[in-house]
Symmetry: C2
Subunit: 332 residues, 2 copies
Amino acid sequence: MLAPMKLALQNFTIVGAGTIGLSFSALHLARSKTTNVTICDPRPDLADHISNILPTYLPPSFPTVQELLASGRLRTTADLKEACKDADVVQEQGPEQTKWKQEIWAKIEPLVSDKCHLWSSTSGIRSSIQNQLMSQEGRKRHVVVHPFNPPHIMPLIEIVGSPETPEHLLQVPEEYFDRIGHRPVIIKKECTGFVGNRLAFVLFREACKLVADGVCSAKDVDAVIEASVGIRWGIKGPFASYNDGGGAGGLKAFMGNVGLSAKDVWTESWEKKDGGLEGKWEEMIVEQAREAYGTPTKESLVDRNRITMKVIETIREERRAIAEEKLAAAKK
Amino acid sequence: MLAPMKLALQNFTIVGAGTIGLSFSALHLARSKTTNVTICDPRPDLADHISNILPTYLPPSFPTVQELLASGRLRTTADLKEACKDADVVQEQGPEQTKWKQEIWAKIEPLVSDKCHLWSSTSGIRSSIQNQLMSQEGRKRHVVVHPFNPPHIMPLIEIVGSPETPEHLLQVPEEYFDRIGHRPVIIKKECTGFVGNRLAFVLFREACKLVADGVCSAKDVDAVIEASVGIRWGIKGPFASYNDGGGAGGLKAFMGNVGLSAKDVWTESWEKKDGGLEGKWEEMIVEQAREAYGTPTKESLVDRNRITMKVIETIREERRAIAEEKLAAAKK
């Protein structure tokens, strides 16, 4: 059995040298000094491809690809057996095809030690489907470790096991990504789109409907989101924000607001009362928000506003700087 | 008839001195040097209330409330007639109650000149409902100018007229808020929740469902959103982001992705194929995204990533600074 926590993950094998694979390689190399990365891909131009792309993902003044290769921190190979030999983690980001993933995991399993962690960066194929051709023991170790693109920048890591994955094997990527400054979240049950894409796609459907209905253009939808929840939710997610929105009464007061109600929108969009939600859902969310965030205070809103102003200023300043640099370059 | 554009809006009358009213007052005073603000509210402690709250919304080293009152840039009154006398704009943010809004607008209309713009900050009551007790001419001038809280910070202004409002009367707030550095968006048709809240509430329903189903906690939903689309959508909205996501093929390629599909999530959540969307919606969104954003380039993604890294850094640094300040204050 694997040590559940405090495990030193040293040797990462990245299967698939696409955008996500190289972005994860950069993340592992840049954020953890003790990590070695082996990139495995059958593409004939692998070395050139890595030399071209990887440096654009690494921080400025980081060792070059040549230096990383020379020091042994980076290896490349087309041979899966060679790649898996000493791996502490095999992280797969191949094509989003069920058959391909089932077959690669069946190939990988006999090539790795029984201590090796098996992570898939899939955006949508559940662990319980990917692991179908693996042994019973192997299946337990298979975990979805789903990033938000590009993973060397975006902090989110959704960790989703199959029903066979024991809790402590989810805690290993949680601990690792937390340690390197990312934001891992363990999802308790597999579901279509996991959590991030699922929520985003649901909003996106309503956005498509508003465009189709002539309420506003696609560009206007983007402007609305960018200037409101886009900024807000980067600082405080929806439950925290609506808990603030209810004032001293928190989320419970927000849900019971006599004015515009979220439920009015749900009933309209889903054509079912409360958007089809039934049972004790409202007590659950109110209680969880209360436990997580308590009562919003004047001070907490001042802090939120201070961060918000800085974020708005940062976006404006960076946009202005980029535009000025382009103008200066064009004049040359 | 009102001059459609380039109109100097000098005298703003703010009806209702709640959070939104004072936040808008601060915005008008701070961003436009030529604007005067009259705050009208029957509350007996109006002067004290404004002296307490308004300074917290104004920029540092801005004139004090006493100075603003002395210079005539700020006036306060409980008398609606007095407040409306010279108004170029009456901006209402009273209680979110249909009857209240219908009655206040019927009272305001005879008190203002026929050149005065009539804006409501409601978050949910349509202009065509608020304007029911107004004259036919007055109804035309009534416009919803819906902010995102707090409006002195958040850039979004959704401008939504009734079917009777002529286009040029929507362009007046559009021009004004654009000039003072906010982000106005004209919504072409009234709908429940307008656009921003509607989209946010739809995502929030799915979030409640995930919590109710035990997929993750409310706090975990927030973490997922904060670390992914929260940051991304503050920089590029969903259409722009999914246009990027499709690579050289843009939004069309994203929609036709053979892997995880937004439509799979829609079909599941709405229990209807494509979430119930029918007709030419897909051609419309693809065409609008193509027109608005073109093909994503390597350079455009580099720019996006650069802004993203700065935003993530800014949020981290501000959080750290706030925590350190609190720690230092606690030690004193």
